[in-house]
């Protein structure tokens, strides 16, 4: 795999080792191990409900694994004190699936929020920083709007501006493309790429949008059923011999990947109570 050489050369920022996690009786991760390398865009793909959002929350230390370790810059996220975890989080941005803007603050104040909480910068500098980030996502003109007045795509862009306002070392995107029109999708793709290259960020993208993810990721993990099914660069992934991966990438309805949540036999279920 020659096209992997470039990838392997940079050192890992995040190392996940033997991660186990479950929700009730639903085992979500069964011994997951992987590396996320510095300065690159790493993509996670997989069917809905496999635990992609859960994985981001485990990396951010919001959920505790049953077993296994998550290291960020060599620190075990679950073993450090709450204040060191908070220090670490100041350098991690996260874009939630829903945007998660604070509904009682307007767009400007939402983006200014981390600055006001964590710095004592003068008002003029805060204003400049916020406007720079809002300009980057194309919403400088929307600074006075309240979150309830934004469309889903605009809310996500504001959330993106907020996630980068403290100039983090890494950023996690949960479904950044879901439900966006092609133009906005295109801008977000370019934005993620630019942020990654210009600011030297490490980016993690969770998405089912195959084309967009393949086009910006340097490395991709395909997960299903709590395990890594396939990993590699976009080029090697497209050439993958796994039927499963081919089905997922091309969206064939039939194949080894189940579309259904585990259930009893359909016929039996329908006949119950007859």
């Amino acid at each position: 795999m020659t096209d992997n050489n470039d990838y392997v050369s940079s050192e890992p920022l995040i190392e996940i080792r033997d991660l186990y996690f479950s929700r009730g009786s639903n085992q979500i991760f069964k011994g997951l191990s992987l590396d996320i390398r510095r300065g690159q865009v790493t993509g996670f793909m997989g069917p809905s409900g496999t635990g992609k959002t859960t994985l981001l929350k485990l990396i951010g230390g919001q959920l505790k694994p049953l077993d296994g370790k998550v290291y960020i810059q060599g620190q075990n996220v679950n073993a450090i004190s709450r204040s060191s975890l908070f220090e670490l989080r100041k350098r991690m941005g996260m874009l939630f699936q829903s945007g998660a803007l604070l509904t009682d603050l307007n767009v400007f104040e939402n983006v200014a929020f981390p600055l006001r909480e964590h710095t004592k910068l003068p008002e003029q500098i805060i204003r400049d920083l916020v406007l720079i980030k809002l300009e980057a996502v194309g919403l400088r003109g929307a600074r006075k709007l309240m979150p309830s007045q934004l469309s889903g795509g605009m809310a996500r862009r504001v959330a993106l501006a907020r996630a980068i306002v403290l100039d983090p070392m890494m950023i996690m995107y949960d479904e950044p493309f879901a439900g966006l029109d092609p133009i906005t999708k295109g801008t977000i793709v370019t934005l993620i790429k630019q942020l990654n290259n210009v600011l030297g960020l490490t980016s993690i993208i969770v998405s089912h949008d195959v084309e967009e993810t393949l086009s910006i990721a340097d490395y991709i993990y395909v997960i299903s059923d709590g395990e890594i099914i396939e990993s590699g660069t976009p080029v090697s992934l497209r050439k993958s011999s796994s039927e499963w991966v081919q089905q997922f990438l091309n969206g064939y309805p039939d194949g080894p990947a189940p579309f259904h949540y585990p259930a009893h036999e359909y016929i039996e279920d329908l006949l119950v109570g007859r």
């Binding site: 951010g60 919001q62 996260m94 998660a100 929020f113 909480e117 907020r162």
Partner: protein, 260 residues
Amino acid sequence: MLDWLQNVGKKGLHVFESLGRSTMFFLLILQGLGVALVRFRLTLREIYSVGVLSLVIIAVSGLFVGMVLGLQGYVNFAKFNAEESLGIFVALSLVRELGPVVTGLLYAGRAGSALTAEIGLMKTTEQLASMEMMAVDPIRRIIAPRFLAGIISMPLLAAIFSAVGVLGGYFVGVGLLGVDSGSYWSQMQANVDFSGDIVNGVIKSVVFGIACNWIALYQGYDAIPTAEGVSRATTKTVVRSALAVLALDFVLTALMFGDI
């Protein structure tokens, strides 16, 4: 039988679990109070929404309760030719009991339910989670200022309730039924004790403030993050706060005025 035992055990564990969680939550709020004091602007904003916005309902209720007290008191005192004592009766009932208790009940319905719904919705829309990911502790930034604001507001609201109630009693007793105005005020002044009555009333309302806000904020913070979960939590807040206020009132009254 076994099923039944298992069920009781499960319910029991659940009760203890939530007792433990709410106690932890309370301790975390206490830790966060420092921030709420230092960044008092955050608290001021909340005093506006839980305190100032409750003023109308508190004042109107206080007026009516005072008027009813004036009427009932007059009807009964008149039988013994003791109408001049109306002022004492109205003031003591309000300051010792009705002021703190009714304010507590109204507060739970007006402000407590709003707090639960607000926090519950912030949880549902992942605002609390996103704050945590921005390294901001939601208990310090969101919960503690609201808690402090509630505790500051409650005694003030109770005092307003009692003051308006005394005026309501005056209006009915003196204005409509012809009790002597001088004796209404002078009897009140002579017989309402500052440390015995006023201070005890204030202590009650502070205790109710702690209970109502703790319940409201905990229910919101612990709500199941769905529309149904938040609506259930809001109902629980009102019911539990009302019960807590009445039960605590009995305990406090027994301690303060019961001579036991």
